[in-house]
Symmetry: C2
Subunit: 426 residues, 2 copies
C-alpha cells in the first residue's frame, strides 16, 4: 500500500489488479472519483459484488455519494487465467458508455473516470431498487416502461452511429477504432455463431432430454446456411455502433428507470444484433415462464405482458427510428438530392426497416439457440428446478428459434412473430 | 537541385512534387530504384507520360533496366488544385500492389520502392507492346487469354483477403488500416452512387439526345432503391481487399500478358464491386462497338468475342474461386466442424456464389450508368465521332444497365445476362 501512496494516477499508468485495499488508494489519488464520494474518504464502504462472468465490480459508498468501479482482468473471471481475455475490453466499454450516454443519457449510466492502462471504469452506481432485468423477469415483475425505454435506447444509439446520421469519413474513423475490439467479437463468433452448430466441449444442454435436439441443431444444413449468413453480417457489416451483448442481464431496472450497462462487446456491426438480443431474451423469458411455479391466471397474464413488451419494443423502435430519420437524415447514406420525393423516401425506409426487422429476428433466434445448446445458459431457464419441466420449456424455445431463423423473411410484422411463439408446441 | 544532392532519402521525408530534373536526384539517392536501372545514371531517359486524371507518371530507362515512377499530388491532376485529393492514396496503392502482387504475381507489376511521405511508387515498367486494355478493345484487338488472366487475378486476390481464408483477427486489422483510404471511397460514393441519380454540375451526357434518359435516371425511384442497396454494401460490407477501380483502363495487356495497375481506390469492400467493374466495362465496349467504323462481319465477331470474354470471365472466376475455397477454406467464415458434410458445403457455396453474382451484376450496372450520365465517361463511347450514333449506343447501354440493376436477382447465369445484352434494343 505504501508504494501506491502519493503516486496516484501516474502509477496507474501500469496495469495492476486491484483489491479492496489498493482500490482505496487509487480512489484517494483520483479526484474525478473521490470528488463524487464526499470528504471523508477514510470512512468509505467498498464491497466487491461482481456476479458476472468476466470482471471485478466494486460498489463504493462515501458520505457524499457513491460510485461503481469496474476492473477488467486479462482473463475470464469465472474460469480463471486458463481462458485469457483482453483487458482492453474496458477501454471499448468506456468509449461506448460515453458515446451511447451522450446519445441517450436517460438510459446509460454516467462515466466519472476511466483508466485505459488499468482497464478500469468508475461510473454511476445504480442504487437499489435497481436490479438486473433478468432477475425481475424471473420474479414475475412487470415493467410498464421497459419497451418505451429500450426502444428509445436502441433507436437513438443505432440511428446516430449509422450512415443515416454520420458522414462516411466519421463512420470509417470509428469503424477503424472499434476493429481493435476484435477479441470480444471473436468470443461472440465462437459461442453464438459456431459452437452450437458443431461438437464442442463447451456446449451443454439438459441431458438426456435434449440430446436429440442438440444433435438436430448440429446436423441441420438449412439452419447452418442461415447462421452462416448471420455470421457473415456480424463479421463484415459495419452498420452502427452496437452494444454487442444486449440481453436482459445487461439491463438494470426499477419500475421507472431502465439503464443499459456492460457494452464491452461493442463494435460497428449489424443493428439487428442488438435488437435481436433483447427480443430473443424476452422470448426465452416467455418460454421459461411455464416452468416456474405460479398461479395459472398470473402466469398467463405475465406471458401476455412479455409478448406485449416484445411487440411494443419493435413497434416503438420502428416508429422512433423512422422519426429520427425523417427529422435528421443528415448522413451520407441517403442524400436529399437523390431521395428527393416522398414516394422514394417511403420506399427506401420501408426496405430499410424490413431488412432490419428480418436481421433482428435472425439474430434473436441465434441468441436463443445458443442459450439452450451452447456454453452460456440463462437463469430464466436454469432456475427451473425440475429437469423434465425445464427440458420441455427449452424444447419449445428451441423449436421456435429454429423456425424463426429459417422462416424470418416470411414474417411481415412483430405481431405475427408473437402469434407464432404463442402457438409453439413441443 | 543542389539542396537535394547528397540528402537523398532523408530529405525525401518531406513531400515535394518532383519534375524530371529533381526525379533524377531522387533516383540517384535511392538504391532500390537505381540498382534496377544500371550503372550510368547520368544517361537515364526520363519521360513524363501520365495520361490519367490523377497522377504524374514517369518512365525511366537506363542502360541496365527500366522503371515506372508514379507520384500522387494532393489534388486531381486534370482539374488542378481546386479539386484536392489526398496524396495518401499512393500509400494505399503501394500496400495493395504489394499484397495483390504477393497473391497473384503473374498479373500485378512488382514494386521496387515506395515512399509514403513523397507519395511515390517505383514499379516495373510494363514495356510495349503493353497497352491499356481499353485502347486495345477500341482498336478491335482480341485478347484470348484475358478472361483466364483476369479471373485468376480476381479469384486469387479476393479469395485470399476474405474471411474464407483469413482469421477475423487478421481481417479486422486490415479493415482498420484501409479505413484510412476513406477519401478515395468518398470519391467513388459521389461519382458512382450519388451524382448520376441527382442534379450535379459534374454530370454530363450526350445532349440533347440523352436529355430525357438522364432525367429518367434521376427520377427512377426503383433504380434509386437499388443504388441505395449497392451503396450501403459499398460503405458497410468489408468482404475483401478490392482493387476499387477495376475498369479496362486499369489493366495493361499484350497478347500474352495481363497486368492490373492503379489500385489507389483499394479498401476492404464488397467483392462484386471489382468483378462488376470489369464486366460492366466490357459491356460498355460491346455497346460502343456498333458506333465504330468496321466491316459488318468483323464487328459481329468482335462483339461475340467480347460477350464470350464476359461469360468466360465469370465462369472461370466462379470455378477458380470455388477451387481455392475447396482446397483451403482455412478462414473463420465456414469452420470445418460446422460445415462438415458435402451437402452443406454445396449449399453454402451455391448461396455465396449466387449472392456474389448478383452483387457483381448490380455494381457492373452502376459502373455503366455512371459512365453515360455521370462525370467521367469512357473512350470506347467518347471516341465515336458522330453524335447521333454515339447517343444511340449510349442509350442501349443505359437501358441495359438499368434493367440489369433492377432485375439482377432474376438472372441465374452469366449466359442469360449476355443474351439480354444481345437482345437490347434502343
Amino acid at each position: 500500500m505504501a508504494e501506491a501512496k502519493g503516486n496516484g494516477v501516474a502509477e496507474a499508468s501500469e496495469f495492476r489488479a486491484l483489491d479492496e485495499k489498493s482500490l482505496l488508494d487509487y480512489i484517494k489519488a483520483t479526484p474525478a472519483i473521490s470528488s463524487v464520494l464526499g470528504n471523508r474518504l477514510e470512512g468509505l464502504s467498498i464491497k466487491e459484488v461482481g456476479d458476472g462472468n468476466l470482471n471485478f465490480v466494486y460498489i463504493v459508498v462515501g458520505d457524499g455519494g457513491s460510485v461503481v468501479i469496474k476492473q477488467a482482468l486479462p482473463y475470464v473471471r469465472c474460469i480463471g487465467e486458463s481462458w485469457p481475455m483482453t483487458k482492453e475490453r474496458a477501454y471499448f466499454e468506456t468509449i461506448t458508455l460515453k458515446e451511447h450516454g451522450r446519445l441517450c443519457p436517460e438510459h446509460v449510466p454516467e462515466v466519472y473516470h476511466a483508466d485505459r492502462k488499468m482497464s478500469l471504469i468508475a461510473m454511476r452506481y445504480l442504487k437499489p431498487p435497481h436490479i438486473i432485468l433478468r432477475k425481475g423477469l424471473i420474479a414475475g415483475v412487470k415493467y410498464p416502461l421497459l419497451a418505451d425505454h429500450i426502444s428509445d435506447y436502441v433507436a437513438k444509439t443505432l440511428y446516430h452511429t449509422s450512415l443515416l446520421h454520420l458522414s462516411t469519413t466519421e463512420h470509417k474513423k470509428r469503424v477503424a477504432e472499434y476493429c481493435g475490439n476484435v477479441e470480444m467479437c471473436r468470443l461472440t463468433e465462437q459461442v453464438i455463431f459456431s459452437d452450437p452448430y458443431q461438437i464442442s466441449s463447451y456446449n451443454r444442454w439438459t441431458s438426456p432430454y435434449l440430446d436429440s435436439d442438440a444433435e438436430a441443431v448440429r446436423s441441420d444444413n438449412i439452419l447452418k446456411l442461415e447462421i452462416a449468413e448471420l455470421k457473415s453480417m456480424f463479421c463484415e457489416k459495419s452498420q452502427a455502433l452496437i452494444h454487442g451483448d444486449l440481453h436482459t442481464g445487461s439491463i438494470m431496472v426499477t419500475s421507472d428507470s431502465t439503464q443499459v450497462i456492460d457494452p464491452e462487446f461493442a463494435f460497428y456491426g449489424p443493428m439487428g444484433f442488438d435488437i435481436g438480443a433483447f427480443l430473443g431474451n424476452l422470448f426465452l423469458a416467455f418460454f421459461a415462464k411455464d416452468g416456474h411455479a405460479c398461479e395459472e391466471q398470473e402466469r398467463h397474464e405475465y406471458k401476455r405482458w412479455l409478448l406485449g413488451t416484445i411487440e411494443d419494443t419493435w413497434n416503438l423502435f420502428e416508429k422512433k427510428f423512422i422519426t429520427l430519420w425523417k427529422e435528421d437524415g443528415s448522413g451520407d447514406a441517403y442524400l436529399p438530392g437523390v431521395y428527393n420525393n416522398s414516394d422514394v423516401q417511403l420506399l427506401v425506409r420501408k426496405k430499410y426497416m424490413k431488412d432490419l426487422f428480418h436481421d433482428s429476428l435472425g439474430f434473436g433466434a441465434a441468441k436463443m439457440i445458443r442459450r439452450i445448446v451452447g456454453v452460456a445458459h440463462v437463469e430464466d431457464l436454469e432456475s427451473i428446478q425440475d429437469t423434465a419441466t425445464r427440458a420441455a420449456c427449452e424444447k419449445r424455445a428451441l423449436l421456435f428459434a429454429k423456425m424463426l431463423m429459417k422462416d424470418r423473411r416470411n414474417f411481415q410484422s412483430i405481431s405475427q412473430v408473437v402469434a407464432a411463439a404463442e402457438e409453439q408446441r413441443a
